[in-house]
C-alpha cells in the first residue's frame, strides 16, 4: 500500500486523458446517482405532481410536500415498522448464524482431514429417497423415518464396510459451494410444505432458517480462501505451545481474518436484507419483510410511486451508510475469494 509515489509516476494521465476520464466517470456517476435522486424527488411529490408529468427540481418546478413520509410513518405506522423490524431481525440473525456455522466449516475444511466414504453417502441419499417414496405412498412419516435410519445403519455396517473409496476436503468444499447453484425456486416448494407441516409458515424462524441455508455456501467459500491466506506457522507454533484447536481458531485465526469476516458478513447481510423471492413464498402477513411491502405498493389503483419511494429510501439508507463506511473491506474480502480457488 506504500506505492502512491510510484503509482503517480505511471498512472497519472495526460491532461486530455484526464478530461476524457472525468467525462466518462461523470456520465456513469450520473447514471448511478440520478435514479437515487429520482427516489428522493418522487418521495416529496404530491400524487398529482407525479401523474402530470416530470418535475425535476423541488421548489423550482414544484412545491414539495411531506405527505408520503407522513403517511408511511403515521398513518401506516405499524404496517411499516413491523416489516422493518422483521427485516432487521431476520437478516441480522440469519447472517450471524451463517457466519458462525460457515466460518467454522471453512476452517475445518482447511485444517482437518475428512474422509467421508462415498458408499456411505450414496446409501444415505438412497435411504432418503426410499423414505420419501414410502411417505408419499401413504406410510406414516415417523415409521418411515425410523425404518429408513435402521436400513441405513444395517447397510452401512454390512455392505458399507467393503468399499473403501472416500472423498476428500476439496470434494466437500465443492459440494457445499455448489449448492449455491441451486435456484431458490427449486428448494422453496419443499420448504413451503415442510414449514406448513410444522406450523412455521409466515414466521421469522422460517425465513431465518431458509436464509441461513442460502447464505452458508457463500460464507464457506469466501472464508475458506481468507483463512488460507493466514500463515500456517502461526498456528503450528500455537500447537506446540499447547493451545487447543478451538483456542487457536478463536484467538489466532479469527482476529487475523477480521477484514474477511466483515466483508463476508456485509455481503450476506445485504443479500438477506434485500431478498424477495423466498420471502414471497414463505410469508404472507406477520413475518412480511420490507421488499414485499415495497412490492405491495402496486395497489389496484396503480403503483403508489410516492409511498414506494419513501419505503425504498428508508430501506436503502442503512445499507448504503454501511457500504460507504466499509467499502474497502468488501472489495478486499471479495477479491481474496476470487483470486484463490
Amino acid at each position: 500500500m506504500k506505492k502512491p509515489f510510484r503509482r503517480k509516476s505511471i498512472f497519472s494521465p495526460s491532461p486530455a486523458a484526464m478530461v476524457l476520464s472525468y467525462l466518462v466517470l461523470g456520465i456513469w456517476a450520473f447514471v448511478v446517482l440520478f435514479p437515487l435522486y429520482w427516489y428522493v424527488v418522487t418521495s416529496i411529490k404530491l400524487p398529482i405532481q407525479v401523474i402530470e408529468g416530470p418535475f425535476y427540481i423541488p421548489f423550482v418546478d414544484f412545491q414539495p410536500s411531506l405527505h408520503a413520509w407522513r403517511y408511511i410513518f403515521t398513518d401506516l405506522r405499524n404496517d411499516t415498522l413491523r416489516p422493518y423490524f422483521n427485516t432487521v431481525v431476520i437478516s441480522l440473525i440469519s447472517s450471524i448464524l451463517a457466519l458462525l456455522i460457515g466460518m467454522a466449516a471453512a476452517y475445518g475444511l482447511l485444517r482437518f482431514n475428512y474422509r467421508p466414504r462415498l458408499v456411505a453417502i450414496l446409501m444415505f441419499i438412497g435411504c432418503i429417497v426410499l423414505v420419501i417414496v414410502a411417505i408419499s405412498f401413504g406410510m406414516p412419516w415417523k415409521l418411515a423415518l425410523i425404518a429408513g435410519i435402521v436400513l441405513f445403519i444395517i447397510l452401512l455396517q454390512t455392505i458399507g464396510r467393503r468399499f473403501k473409496r472416500s472423498l476428500g476436503n476439496n470434494d466437500i468444499a465443492f459440494w457445499m459451494i455448489s449448492t449455491r447453484i441451486l435456484p431458490p425456486v427449486v428448494i422453496v416448494i419443499p420448504m413451503y410444505i415442510l414449514f406448513q407441516r410444522v406450523g412455521l409458515l409466515d414466521t421469522k424462524t422460517a425465513l431465518i432458517i431458509t436464509y441461513l441455508a442460502v447464505s452458508l455456501p457463500i460464507v464457506v467459500w469466501l472464508m475458506r480462501d481468507y483463512f488460507s491466506s493466514i500463515p500456517i506457522e502461526l498456528e503450528e507454533s500455537a500447537t506446540v505451545d499447547g493451545a487447543s484447536r478451538y483456542r487457536i481458531f478463536l484467538s489466532i485465526v479469527l482476529p487475523l481474518s477480521a477484514p474477511g469476516l466483515v466483508a463476508t458478513f456485509l455481503l450476506i447481510l445485504v443479500f438477506n436484507w434485500n431478498e424477495y423471492l423466498l420471502a414471497l413464498f414463505l410469508t404472507s402477513s406477520r413475518a412480511q419483510t420490507l421488499p414485499l411491502t415495497v412490492a405491495a405498493q402496486n395497489a389496484t389503483r396503480g403503483p403508489q410511486w410516492w409511498y414506494m419511494s419513501v419505503l425504498i429510501l428508508i430501506m436503502i439508507i442503512p445499507v448504503i451508510a454501511m457500504a460507504i463506511v466499509l467499502e474497502r473491506y468488501i472489495a478486499r474480502g471479495l477479491l481474496v475469494g476470487a483470486i484463490k480457488e
Binding site: 448511478v32 482437518f112 487447543s244 424477495y276 457500504a323 472489495a331
Partner: protein, 392 residues
C-alpha cells in the same frame, strides 16, 4: 466443551515437556489425534447438517414433485405420480411455446449464424483432437459443450427469426449472457478509469458501489418510472426523438431491454469492485519495464494488465453467471413477465406455476432451470475457467 478444551491444553503441555519418553509421547499423540477428530467434526458438522437438510433434502423432494401432479383435496392435498408428464408438457406439450418458444424455420441470416457457430464448434473440436493431448475428461467436456452450445444456437436462430418467438429458456439465457457482457465491460472500464491518479476518485468509487446495495424490487420500480415515456424523467427526450407514445412495457423487446437495463445497473458495481481490487493489487514492475520500453497504452493493457486480471475475471463471471440465472424479482415487478410471457425468466415461470397451484409444473420448470445452470456452469468451468487458471 470448555472442560474438554482445558484438558487438551493441559495434556498437550505436559506432552511437549516429556518428549524424551517415546511411549508416553506416542500415547499423547494418539490422544491429540482423537481430540483433533472430535474438533474436526465440531467444526464441520453443523454446516453439513444445515446444507443436507435445507438444500439437498428439498432438492430430492422437489425432484419427486416434478414427477407428480398436485391438487388439493378435502383436508389437505394429494400427490399423484405422473412420470415424465410435467417435462413432456414443457418440451412438446401445451407449455412448449411458453418454455421453448415458437419454433420457426430460421431465416437465411439465421442459417448463416448457425452454420458459422457449428463450423466453429467442429473446428475447435478437431483442433483439440489434433493437438494430441487427449484425455477422456477433456474430450467429454468439449463434446458436451459443443452439443450444448450447438443446441442453444439452433434454438436461438429458430426462435429469434422473424416468425419465431423466444420462450422463457431463451429469454433467461439472453438476460444472463447479454447482462454479464455489459456488466463486465462497464465494470472493467470504470475500474480502469478509477485506478488512474485522478483527484476525487474515492468519490467515484463509493458512488459506483451503491446500486449493489439496493433491493431488486426497488430497482424494478425505479426502471418502471424511468422508462415511462410520458411522465418519467426522460419524457422530454422521448418526445424529442418522437417516441412519446412508445410503451416499453407493451413491446416485447422493450420489456426485455428494460429488465436487462435494471439488471446491468444493479450488478455492474459487483464487477467493478472486484476488478478494481484486482487492478490495484497488480505488481508494478512490469508496468515500469513496459514504460521504459515505450509500450503504448493498448499494449500495456493487452500484454500486462489483461493477463493479470484474467483469473479473477474468469471467477467473477462464473459467480455472476450462477447468480444471474436466478433472475426473478426484476421481471416480476417491472413487467410482471409481460407482455404475455415475453419477459418471463425461468424462475419467474416457476413462480407463476406455483401461484396457479401447479406444484408439479413449478418443480419441473425449476428443475429445467437447474439443469440449464448446471450445464452452462460445467461447460464454462471446464473450458474457459480451467484454461485461464492453467495459463496462470
Amino acid at each position: 466443551m470448555m472442560k474438554v478444551k482445558r484438558q487438551t491444553q493441559g495434556s498437550a503441555q505436559t506432552g511437549s515437556g516429556l518428549e524424551a519418553i517415546p511411549s508416553l509421547n506416542k500415547r499423547m499423540h494418539s490422544l491429540v489425534m482423537r481430540q483433533d477428530r472430535l474438533a474436526g467434526n465440531v467444526f464441520l458438522l453443523p454446516a453439513v447438517l444445515v446444507i443436507l437438510s435445507l438444500a439437498i433434502f428439498p432438492l430430492i423432494i422437489s425432484l419427486y414433485l416434478s414427477f407428480s401432479s398436485f391438487r388439493f383435496v378435502k383436508g389437505g392435498f394429494a400427490l399423484k405420480f405422473v412420470g415424465l408428464a410435467n417435462y413432456k408438457k414443457l418440451l412438446i406439450g401445451s407449455a412448449k411455446t411458453r418454455f421453448l418458444g415458437v419454433l420457426a424455420n430460421p431465416s437465411i441470416f439465421g442459417w448463416l449464424v448457425f452454420i458459422i457457430i457449428a463450423a466453429l464448434l467442429v473446428i475447435s473440436l478437431v483442433l483439440y483432437i489434433r493437438r494430441g493431448q487427449l484425455s477422456a475428461g477433456g474430450l467429454f467436456y468439449r463434446g458436451l459443450a459443443a452439443i450444448v452450445i450447438g443446441l442453444g444456437a439452433w434454438l436461438l436462430v429458430r426462435t429469434l427469426g422473424p416468425d419465431g418467438r423466444p420462450g422463457t429458456l431463451i429469454i433467461t439465457l439472453i438476460y444472463v449472457f447479454i447482462g454479464i457482457f455489459f456488466q463486465y465491460l462497464l465494470g472493467l472500464g470504470m475500474a480502469m478509469l478509477t485506478t488512474q491518479a485522478l483527484p476525487g476518485r474515492r468519490f467515484f468509487r463509493t458512488v459506483f458501489f451503491l446500486p449493489l446495495m439496493i433491493t431488486p424490487v426497488g430497482i424494478a420500480y425505479l426502471f418502471r418510472m424511468l422508462t415511462d415515456t410520458t411522465k418519467g424523467p426522460f419524457a422530454v427526450i422521448w418526445q424529442m426523438v418522437g417516441l412519446s407514445g412508445f410503451s416499453w412495457a407493451n413491446n416485447p423487446w422493450g420489456a426485455r431491454v428494460a429488465v436487462m437495463l435494471g439488471d446491468i445497473w444493479q450488478w455492474t458495481p459487483f464487477m467493478f469492485i472486484v476488478l478494481l481490487a484486482a487492478l490495484e493489487s497488480q505488481s508494478i514492475e512490469p508496468f515500469e519495464a513496459a514504460m521504459v520500453d515505450g509500450a503504448n497504452k493498448w499494449q500495456i493493457f493487452r500484454y500486462i494488465t489483461l493477463p493479470q486480471i484474467l483469473p479473477v475475471s474468469a471467477t467473477i463471471i462464473l459467480i455472476r453467471m450462477i447468480e444471474a440465472f436466478k433472475i426473478v424479482d426484476i421481471p416480476n415487478v417491472l413487467t410482471n413477465g409481460g407482455p404475455g410471457t415475453a419477459s418471463e425468466s425461468l424462475a419467474l415461470q416457476s413462480y407463476m406455476y406455483w401461484r396457479a397451484l401447479d406444484l408439479g409444473g413449478s418443480a419441473s420448470v425449476s428443475y429445467m432451470l437447474l439443469i440449464t445452470v448446471t450445464l452452462a456452469g460445467l461447460c464454462y468451468f471446464n473450458l474457459i475457467h480451467r484454461a485461464v487458471k492453467e495459463k496462470e
